[in-house]
């Protein structure tokens, strides 16, 4: 009986001790000291007694943000990061610093928590666990350099405002053709821009091809083709294979016929070239947009016959090319190519640079194999099925655990995902022998951007309700005659219509019909002039025949209109001379002339306004003045916060501007 009592007493003590372990352990947790420190700093910084009391009365406790709708997230980060939304904690020492103000903070802390953007282990309350500094941490905190990866997990569009690095990374990945080899969510139907190789044998010479294959960027700084670090032997094999490929008979005939044509007039070609504004996409000696090949040495790169035939119908050579089919006459093209041959050649190149390669069948067969094993086909022979992608997929790459990565020979690298990705992009083949990924020449900033874009690819997509992306609209370009004109002149290579199109032009065409006068447009299409003289990218003189220009102008006038833009902003009460005079005064006081020219007075950051009446519709001018950024988000013209009546007066003034004495036709 006594022993039973003793046992009971002992076990009670033991039980008590066991129960005490948890509170004792808890009392020694580091966050308690951190919270006491916060109280001390807060009281020292407080400017009112009430504020100081508030710091003092905060209970010492674990704090958390619980978001049932977001994967049932529980973020306890604010247990230590107590000052994230406390203005008094600006510049306080970590972990108390106030969170910098962003689009989402401080207002959305309760909506997204912390780890959804920054990574880290939300439930943990020890620093090393929470920040994922332990080996095999599932989700380490994103380093500051890659912060914008957090934005990209919900914001799935190519351009994410307020995330310049992420947007740049996504654009770089798209341009560089990463998705031709690597499958990734959202890029399933990616197709490379690389040209088909069917006419190589009549386009260039063996020597040029050898130089190109050994270092594409060395030949053309605009090249998007990476360096495959091919050996001499491999280059020989590939060249032989490419020259052995049969040339499409019609194209071969076109090239041969062109080669036999009489020489052109180089002086005229030079003029034509300049007015055609080729550098809107190409460069010459590095000047120009650079999204298409450098033309400085074009005559040492392609044969005369090929150039002539190509310029006459680029789409026959490459149906996917962004190059428009200019309305050049046969003589025009001969003249342009004559000028290429006179001036745009590599004067240091060997004479034989364009001599065709005599094909050695054995080498060609080996080259054919190499074409497959090196992955050339991934860009040059288009595949659309993602199962056929040549490289490893990128699904969930942003959540790969560092321990699962093969660092191979790179013992020098920190064992983190971001270091691994950066090195993979910088020196892809340094990890092991036999790796196939080619080398892109990205600078450190570009690599940071790409790694940011990669880290934004989660293993598990965020809940549907949180995803932000602009859904692709159906094409607004109609089939038929208009579609054929738009395709021929490749309007969408530069302009946007709806969600389609390139971004070389600053003028989206979706609502062009509400913006410009039909007659002005019809004549502009035939003979465009530069609306923004500061930009190297200008509307090319495409030599569109009057008939096509009229059809296009009519179509734009009919379809591409914004119903919210009024036809007559003055609502039937025409502006008086006094309104116009008042508008002119506003033009001066607002400082419009710092960017716009009228006559010969003003800056040239924005378009000249001398011919506003001829060019622009008054409803559009009025609406634009009220909110320029509505037209395009990155428009530089400031929103002056004008009242409707001031905007009307300014419109009235601008509508008086015309260099023509009478309205044309």
């Amino acid at each position: 009986m006594v022993s039973l009592r003793r046992l009971f007493a002992l076990s009670s003590v033991a039980f008590l001790a066991v129960l005490a372990v948890s509170p004792v352990k808890n009392s020694m947790r580091p966050y308690r000291a951190i919270q006491k420190e916060y109280e001390r700093i807060g009281m020292a910084r407080a400017t009112t007694l009430k504020a100081a009391q508030a710091y003092a009365s905060n209970p010492i406790a674990i704090r958390q943000i619980w978001i049932p709708d977001f994967d049932n997230r529980v973020d306890r980060c604010t247990t230590c990061h107590l000052g994230v939304s406390d203005d008094a904690m600006t510049n306080a020492p970590e972990p108390f610093t106030r969170h910098p103000e962003t689009v989402h903070t401080p207002k959305d802390f309760a909506r997204f928590g912390c780890t959804s953007c920054h990574g880290g282990e939300g439930l943990a309350t020890f620093e090393a666990d929470a920040h994922g500094r332990t080996a095999d941490a599932p989700s380490p905190v994103l380093p500051a350099a890659y912060t914008e990866a957090g934005c990209g997990r919900c914001h799935l569009g190519d351009f994410v405002s307020d995330a310049p690095v992420l947007s740049n990374g996504r654009a770089l990945m798209e341009q560089s053709g990463c998705f031709a080899c690597h499958a990734a969510r959202g890029h399933e139907d990616f197709r490379s821009d690389a040209p088909p190789l069917d006419t190589i044998a009549v386009k260039t010479g063996g020597e040029w091809l050898r130089q190109w294959l050994s270092n594409p960027k060395g030949v053309d700084p605009n090249a998007t083709m990476p360096n495959f670090r091919l050996s001499r032997q491999e280059i020989d094999e590939l060249s032989n294979y490419l020259f052995s490929r049969p040339v499409t008979p019609e194209l071969q005939r076109a090239v041969e016929a062109a080669a036999a044509e009489p020489p052109g007039n180089a002086a005229n070609g030079k003029t034509l070239f300049a007015e055609s504004r080729c550098i809107t996409c190409h460069t010459v000696g590095g000047k120009g947009n650079g999204s298409a090949p450098e033309l400085g040495t074009i005559a040492s790169r392609a044969t005369r016959g090929w150039l002539i035939a190509f310029l006459r119908d680029p789409h026959a050579f490459n149906p996917q090319t962004r190059m428009p089919r200019y309305g050049f006459s046969d003589t025009d093209v001969r003249d342009i190519v004559a000028w290429f041959e006179d001036d745009l050649r590599d004067f240091n190149a060997p004479k034989s640079i364009l001599d065709p390669l005599r094909v050695n069948q054995t080498l060609a067969e080996r080259g054919e194999k190499l074409f497959k094993t090196a992955g050339c086909f991934a860009c040059h022979i288009k595949t659309t099925k993602e199962t056929e992608r040549f490289g490893p997929d990128l699904y969930g790459i942003g959540d790969r655990r560092a321990v699962s990565l093969d660092f191979g020979k790179r013992t020098d690298l920190p064992r983190t995902l971001e270091a691994w990705l950066d090195a993979k992009i910088n020196q892809p083949r340094s990890f092991a022998t036999g790796l196939k990924m080619p080398t892109f020449s990205f600078d450190p900033e570009q690599r940071r951007a790409i790694v940011t874009a990669l880290l934004a690819m989660p293993a598990k997509p965020v809940p549907e309700a949180l995803r932000v992306s602009t859904p692709r609209q159906a094409s607004l370009v109609p089939a038929g005659t208009i579609g054929a004109i738009v395709a021929r002149y490749r309007c969408l290579s530069c302009h946007q219509i709806g969600t389609e199109g390139g971004d070389i032009s600053t003028a989206p065409l979706t609502f062009e019909g509400s913006k410009v006068n039909r007659d002005w447009l019809a004549s502009y299409l035939q003979l465009p002039y530069s609306i923004r003289p500061i930009l190297p990218e200008r509307m090319p003189v495409l030599k569109i025949p009057a008939e096509d220009a009229a059809k296009l102008a009519d179509a734009i006038e009919t379809w591409y209109v914004d119903p919210s833009i009024p036809d007559d902003p003055f609502a039937g009460r025409p502006a008086s001379d006094r309104d116009a005079a008042e508008g002119q005064r506003l033009y001066t006081t607002l400082g419009c002339r710092s960017c716009h020219i009228i006559g010969n007075n003003g800056g040239y950051y924005g378009p000249p306004l001398t011919d506003t009446k001829t060019r622009l519709k008054s409803g559009w001018v009025f609406r634009f003045l009220l909110n320029p950024q509505r037209w395009r988000a990155d428009i530089r013209c400031p929103n002056y916060g004008l009242t409707d009546s001031d905007a009307l007066r300014l419109t009235a003034y601008l509508e008086t501007l015309s260099s023509h004495k009478e309205t044309r036709r």
Partner: protein, 134 residues
């Protein structure tokens, strides 16, 4: 038991919290995060560099059309005498708003307060002696 204790003590962070008046925010912060600098740089290059130049020296391509010339923002003397709040104010209200040239437009309706704060922080990095900082 432990879980009970913890959850009983936990407090969900209140989202509604006191905020300082806007104009002083930029002035309070002298240690911009890398992200804030990135945003500031983006805004500066989009809206400011055309006249003030990529490095803020008042030598943008549109500068020589303007009389008076755009301010050299990298000038250490200018940086010293102008407070963050003054800079933000000039950006918001434009030259005419602060008694200077109306050729500098007001950006208060185009950029939000956060973007203006970010660009002020970025302008600070343009100070000449640290001119290379980007």
């Amino acid at each position: 038991m432990k879980r009970l204790l913890v959850s009983a003590l936990s407090i969900v962070l209140a989202a509604a919290c006191h905020r300082a008046p806007r104009a002083t925010r930029a002035a309070m912060s002298n240690r911009p995060s890398l992200y804030e600098r990135q945003i500031g740089k983006q805004v500066f290059q989009t809206y400011c560099a055309g006249c003030h130049g990529d490095t803020g020296q008042g030598d943008g391509f549109n500068a020589f059309n303007l009389d008076p010339h755009p301010r050299d923002l990298s000038d250490p003397a200018f940086q010293k005498k102008t407070s963050d709040a003054d800079l933000a104010d000039a950006i918001r209200r434009g030259g005419a708003g602060v008694g200077l040239s109306s050729l500098m437009p007001p950006w208060g309706h185009t950029l939000d307060a956060r973007q203006i704060d970010a660009v002020v922080l970025y302008i600070r990095t343009l100070k000449q002696d640290t001119g290379a900082a980007k």
